[in-house]
Amino acid sequence: MQTYISGIPLNYYLSLAGILFSIGVLGVLTRRNAVIIFMAVELMLNSVNLVFIAFSKVLSIINGEVIVFFVMAIAAAEAGVGLAIVIAIHRQKKTSNVDEINLLKW
Amino acid sequence: MDWMLILVWALKSALLFFIIITGCAYYTLAERVVAGFIQDRRGPNRAGPLGLFQPLADGIKFLTKEEVFPVNVNKAMYLIAPAISIVCAIMAWSIIPFGGTIPLPPVLANAVGFPTIDLQVANPNTGILFMFAISSLSVYGIILAGWSSNNKYSLMGGIRSTAQMISYELPLGLSVVIVILLSGSLKLTEINDAQKGLWFIFTLPGLIAFFIFSVAMFAETNRLPFDLAEAESELVVGFHTEYGAFKFALFFIAEYMNMITMSCVVSLLFFGGYNVPFGILEGSELQPLVGLAFFIGKVLFFAFLFMWVRWTLPRFRYDQLMVLGWKKLIPWCLFNIVLASTYVVYWGKYWKGIFN
């Protein structure tokens, strides 16, 4: 039993989203630069957006797309605040390597 | 039939491409002639009659020059930057409607299989938003050029220019919101149709929006009085300091193309686009063609305005630029949005019928 969107099976979209998400996880785990970790997180967000839209189309309801719209707005807010924090930290510690920012520990 | 449609699209695109490249070439010539006129001297007049072959000669010169790569540049980025600029500039054209639907002569109509043709390549229902999306990408061309050149003037110019474009995208977008409110649609064709009666420039919010838009327009295209990115006295020529030959030509063409795009957009958004005023020739087959003529006339006027302003006004200081953008234009835009909403809610039904 297959479900198609624009002639492409739904599972293709979901697989693509899964792969993208894994790549994002890889990025978050391996990279140490705060800005690049941020970018990897954006990648993960986008893979979820893809899933939202795929199901929105499959189920023929628009809500998924609205949620994606909101996710974008929140991503924008996150970008603004997150990058501001990176800049503030960089100004203080002259680094944006997250391993060197480890004061909050036991 | 399907393939015929694709063929027509391809033909339209190719034709459009040819037209804008030529248009840009002659725009550069026009700029030099106008500059000459304003500075009370003669412009280029050697190549061909009235200097008409000058752009051609320039093009050949750019193409045949040696491609120089400065040491320590990031080559991939260095090459990609001008490409991004020109691609974005051309893509923005894909959604601009130059005229309404033109009926084809019967012979042609039988050959292609449909009776009419739109003077527009694509008409997505996000319309003007699409154009903004594309033009917001053109920032990458500039910032990458500045960064990859490995030159501090270039980097400074790139960062300045980026900050300027990000800042002025806000008033630009917010003043377009007025037009969207007044017309109730994002599609450029529908915005045009909404001005069949009254041009938006003749409504109060539209007037304010036009002034804000025209200021932001100069800033977005990096033209005087806002050409901080290439302020010669401070930054050599900014982000394309290290560029030469054809790569420079691409930046150059992209800049002029953006100006023509902006002229088209401002005519479409505020000055009635390709409508024929007062319903002259209504219903006639000639009307779309006359409308096209009107539209081109408006675009030419705004293209001239760009040159006129460039050779008349001095450059702003950087802090003045930012203060103008963030502290003056944006508050005015926000006020204007409230005004326009009130306008649409309370008087919308009256003004829509005027002159129609």
Binding site: M1, K57, E65, I74, G80 | T162
Partner: protein, 194 residues
């Protein structure tokens, strides 16, 4: 209208290949600015996939917001920080840690794909369609107050302002707060003056 069903799978394959490839480059590239540019490319090709799915509004917003605004900000910050020298990654010099992490990620993606298969097998419903361009919305409970909108953009707009008005307002306030917060945090004298 034009029937594109035959070329759609091809387009999808090209776009997804570009997406995955550039996403990998985002993560593996040593140069932060190049990473950012590849991320833009990823977003752009994702926008293409959205457009392929007939979600034209989201595709436009993807380009406008992600590629045009967020990533410009990221590139801008990268240039401000001037991260050229900081490409050395400690993690890659530690082979055991590297292996562990790669193994974990592989396990993770494997599990994701397997779970996908599991859902596919248990999915009882079949809905095969390209969604119609018309959407219906109820303004209130009465039967007459239905709004029919045409086009993806109008549908998303109607849903946003009818079903999701409160979240929309909350998000606008969130954005305002984020703007103010970003300005305060990134202000130069904020630390000195307290």
């Amino acid at each position: 209208m034009l029937n594109l069903t035959e070329i759609q799978p091809i387009l999808f394959m090209i776009l997804s290949a570009v997406t995955v490839g550039s996403a990998l480059l985002v993560v593996l590239n040593k140069n932060p600015v190049a990473s950012a540019i590849f991320l833009v490319l990823t977003f752009f090709s994702l926008a293409g996939i959205y457009a392929l799915m007939n979600a034209i509004f989201i595709a436009t917003m993807q380009v406008l917001v992600y590629a045009g605004a967020i990533m410009v900000l990221v590139v801008f910050v990268l240039m401000l920080l001037n991260l050229r020298e900081e490409t050395h990654q400690e993690i890659w010099s530690n082979p055991t840690k590297k292996t562990v992490i790669v193994l974990i990620v592989i396990a993770y993606s494997f599990l994701l794909l397997v779970s996908l298969k599991a859902t596919k097998d248990s999915d009882p419903t079949v809905i095969t369609n390209i969604t119609s361009p018309n959407y219906e919305y109820k303004l209130s409970d009465s039967a007459e107050s239905k709004v029919t909108v045409t086009g993806n953009t109008a549908a998303v707009g109607a849903s946003t302002f009818i079903d999701y008005l409160l979240p929309f307002e909350i998000i606008s306030i969130l954005l305002l707060v984020a703007v103010i917060g970003a300005v305060i945090i990134a202000k130069k004298d904020a630390v000195k003056k307290g």
